[in-house]
């Protein structure tokens, strides 16, 4: 039996424009071969830059920007799409193969109603009459669990939520009854509790329509729920290929093993001890608004321990960081640090208070001045707080670089010359240079690839032991919390809904929100999605 999609020895190149040099060709993908049979799902997994989206789009013979397919063959239903002319490509795209983008918010035309866009390809390829297409779209909306399926098509993209838009995009891809759908990180931009719903809807839709799919993601736990086979990619080449069971349970390559075991850092929780930071009854709102973003927050963080603040976007967790650093003075409540009360506004705080509370940001890119060298970035706090100069300063910078495991040769480099993980390490070193008692870590690992993030977490844990520093660790990622926290506060709509030592917070009985949150985090197990959804249905029926 011939496969629906057959890719052989694919090679993809692009033109790079290095500043000050002449353009040159770089190879993004090479030596990739795989096949997808009717009704099967192949997961493509890898870190950013692994070439997974590029490979996915090659099934539609499409290259973004200057990307070109320069070798191999891509057969859809036995026809080589790389040889198809522009008319052939037009009849392939949107009819045989369709696409679901990562950001549905950007992928929908803001000026057109959803229904128009959902049935556009179906009408264009003359697959159905308008009435039939609209009826099919409404059926798909209902099947994907969208509210008011009959009328949601009359809305404009900005009038529905992100999770709903992602489902509408899936309906758009399924509407023309394609043979193959390319899903390009369809749930990555969503909150974890929304992700599970969209994921379940996509899986159900794939099963019911019998369509084949390429599912592209960086999250192995997610792809394990939907794929029949998985291909692991690294820097444009294949690392390992096999059934989902094989990849998850019996990986053979080291890289795959590392991906499977990521976030399994063992961290024994500490408890007790005097608080270095005490927050009492903090309520805060942004200027010019009449809505409290934080409502009556009370928390304690013992010295040299980690308090994780967990919540989804909009829960107020980053605002809490702004209040503690003094960027947003609260409208009520007080903050005690190291036995003394902190001034609400950072400009009123003495230099030692500023020094002892440091901050590490999510985007290391923009947390460092691109015009300053690593030496200047780390050296400035030394100079500013401790008056270090010359060799003394240089020596201390090198010590710090050693502590963050970067070694020599970085003093004169600019941030642009560092990798993502190295940038975040330099930010950590800058915070450490101030000899702080508390470091606020705001989503410090969420912009990083899983393996790199793992390295950063291990580094932070080691530094906590040697430097006796407390962390206030803000994140939306529960796996990270398990790895690093001693105590946890779960935030929802500006309130702390659950707070205590790690094991207590993560053990039943749960409140409703924590239950939802915890059960939504994908686990690296086959069948997790089905079990979770089934459990939820049972509970709902039981109530």
């Amino acid at each position: 039996m011939t496969a629906l999609l057959e890719v052989k020895d694919l090679k993809i190149e692009a033109t790079a424009y290095p500043p000050g040099e002449s353009p040159r060709n770089i190879t993004i993908v090479q030596g990739i071969s795989f096949a997808v049979e009717k009704g099967k799902v192949l997961g493509l997994i890898g870190e950013s830059g692994a070439g997974k989206s590029t490979i996915g789009l090659s099934s539609m013979a499409y290259g973004r920007g200057g990307v070109r397919i320069t070798g191999g063959s891509v057969l859809v239903n036995g026809v080589d799409v790389l040889q198809a002319g522009s008319a052939g490509l037009r009849s392939l795209r949107g009819r045989e193969v369709t696409y679901v983008a990562q950001s549905a918010a950007a992928a929908f035309n803001p000026a057109k109603k959803l229904m128009e866009q959902v049935i556009e390809a179906t009408l264009h390829h003359k697959l159905m009459s308008r009435e039939e297409a609209e009826a099919r779209a409404i059926t798909l909306f209902a099947r994907l669990g969208l509210p008011k399926p009959e009328t949601i098509g009359n809305r404009y993209p900005h009038q529905v939520s992100g999770g709903q838009l992602q489902r509408v995009m899936t309906a758009m891809a399924l509407c023309p009854k394609p043979d193959l759908v390319v899903f390009d990180e369809p749930t990555t931009a969503l909150d974890v509790t929304t992700q599970i719903e969209v994921l379940a809807a996509i899986k159900e839709a794939i099963a019911e329509t019998g369509v084949a799919a390429l599912y592209i993601t960086h999250d192995l736990a997610v792809v394990a729920q939907v794929a029949d086979h998985i291909m692991v990619l690294q820097s444009g080449e294949m690392v390992e290929y096999g059934t989902t069971d094989h990849i998850i349970n019996r990986p053979t390559m080291d890289y795959t093993k590392a991906l499977v075991s990521v976030r399994s850092i063992e961290h024994v929780e500490k408890s007790g001890g005097d608080p270095v930071l005490s927050i009492k009854g903090i309520t805060a709102r942004y200027r010019g608004t009449n809505f409290d973003v934080l409502k009556d927050i009370t928390l304690d963080l013992p010295a040299a321990q980690t308090l994780a603040i967990v919540g989804e976007s909009g829960s107020g967790k980053s605002t809490l960081a702004r209040v503690i650093t003094g960027l947003l003075p609260p409208s009520a409540g007080s903050i005690t640090f190291n036995g003394r009360t902190l001034a609400p506004d950072f400009e009123k705080r003495p230099r030692d208070d500023l020094r002892e509370v440091q901050m590490i940001y999510q985007m290391a890119d923009v947390a460092m001045n691109p015009r300053q060298t690593v030496g200047t970035i780390i050296g400035r706090p030394l100079e500013f707080y401790f008056g270090l100069r010359g060799d003394e300063k240089k020596q201390r910078i090198q010590e710090l670089l050693d502590e963050i495991e970067m070694g020599e040769g970085f003093l004169d480099r600019y941030p642009a010359e560092l990798s993502g993980g190295q940038k975040q390490r330099v930010c950590i070193a800058r915070a450490l240079a101030a000899k702080p008692k508390l470091i606020i870590c705001d989503e410090v690992t969420s912009a990083l690839d899983p393996l790199v993030a793992d390295g950063i977490l291990k580094l932070l844990l080691n530094l906590q032991k040697t430097e006796n520093v407390a962390y206030l660790f803000i994140t939306h990622d529960l796996a990270t919390v398990r790895a690093i926290a001693d105590s946890i506060a779960v935030m929802y709509q500006g309130r702390v809904v659950r707070y205590g030592p790690k094991t207590d917070v993560l053990s039943p009985p749960f409140d409703d929100y924590t239950d939802l949150l915890l059960s939504s985090v994908p686990e690296m197990k086959l069948g997790w999605l089905e079990r979770t959804i089934a459990n939820r249905k049972m509970e709902a029926a039981g109530n």
Partner: protein, 270 residues
């Protein structure tokens, strides 16, 4: 480092014009007001560009005129730049009512085209060089203000500026060490564009008879003096106009190159 052809050409002509302006006293064959022949003589070895409406050597007038034009444009650019960027940075860093006040004032000034504003003001002010430079500099500072404020606002919301503020750094450190180095490349490119605009502005005013007053020479004025000759097929008026255009294009090419070169450094992130 390789300089692209366009930028090299731009640099060459920019240097040529500035050089001629600076060393005018040494290289100009005749004085600016010296009458040495008949009106509108065509070119000869003695007078490579011919003579003007009252028989002055056109090449010499061009060199002297270039000096005036470039001097006024340079000083005007300096005023518009120092005034506009200082106020722009101030508005961005201070925010609040300072920003509001300055921004609304600039909005108001920009609601009238600058040529019209200049004409209105010049209808009551004495037309002297300092007045011209001041009027042009202040009117043009509004554009520099908008750009530098926008650039600085983009930078002040960056995490590294927040980190510096949380460290307890003073306002001056933040402006000069954190913001300025990152704002420099768009501002330098803008400086080139402002200079061009100044050249065009003063030339236009002089052409309209409201800029540099005779017997002083400047390029716009030379066009005005010789414009009647066009109808008789004498292209004397085109010479200064051509000089203005080539100077403007050259500076533009240099500014483009500076912007591309410096922004690609910044673009190397990630």
């Amino acid at each position: 480092m390789r300089i692209p052809l366009a930028a090299a050409l731009g640099l060459f002509f920019t240097a040529l014009y500035f050089g001629a302006a600076i060393f005018a006293a040494w290289i100009a064959p005749y004085g600016a007001a010296e009458i040495i022949g008949d009106s509108w003589e065509s070119w000869s070895w003695a007078h490579p560009l011919g003579t003007d409406s009252i028989g002055r050597d056109l090449l010499s007038r061009m060199i002297w005129g270039g000096q005036t034009t470039i001097l006024i444009a340079t000083l005007g650019t300096l005023i518009s730049f120092s005034l506009g960027s200082t106020l722009g940075f101030l508005a961005a860093v201070k925010g609040g009512w300072v920003d509001q006040l300055l921004s609304r004032m600039v909005d108001l000034m920009m609601s009238i085209p600058s040529l019209i504003s200049a004409l209105v003001v010049l209808s009551v002010m004495p037309v002297t060089l300092p007045v011209l430079i001041l009027v042009m500099g202040i009117l043009d500072a509004t554009r520099v203000f908008r750009l530098s404020r926008a650039v600085a606002v983009d930078i002040t919301v960056m995490d590294y500026v927040e980190a510096a503020r949380l460290r307890g750094e003073k306002q001056l450190w933040i402006i000069f060490r954190e913001i300025l180095p990152n704002a420099l490349s768009p501002l330098i490119a803008e400086m080139g564009l402002r200079f061009i605009f100044m050249v065009l502005f003063i030339s236009t005013l002089s052409f309209l008879g409201l800029g540099v007053q005779p017997p002083m020479a400047d390029w716009g004025g030379i066009v005005k003096e010789n414009k009647e000759a066009i109808v008789y097929g004498v292209p004397a008026a085109l010479v200064p106009a051509f000089a203005i255009a080539t100077l403007a294009i050259s500076v533009n090419l240099v500014a483009d190159w500076v912007l591309n070169r410096t922004s690609s450094l910044k673009g190397g992130r990630g």
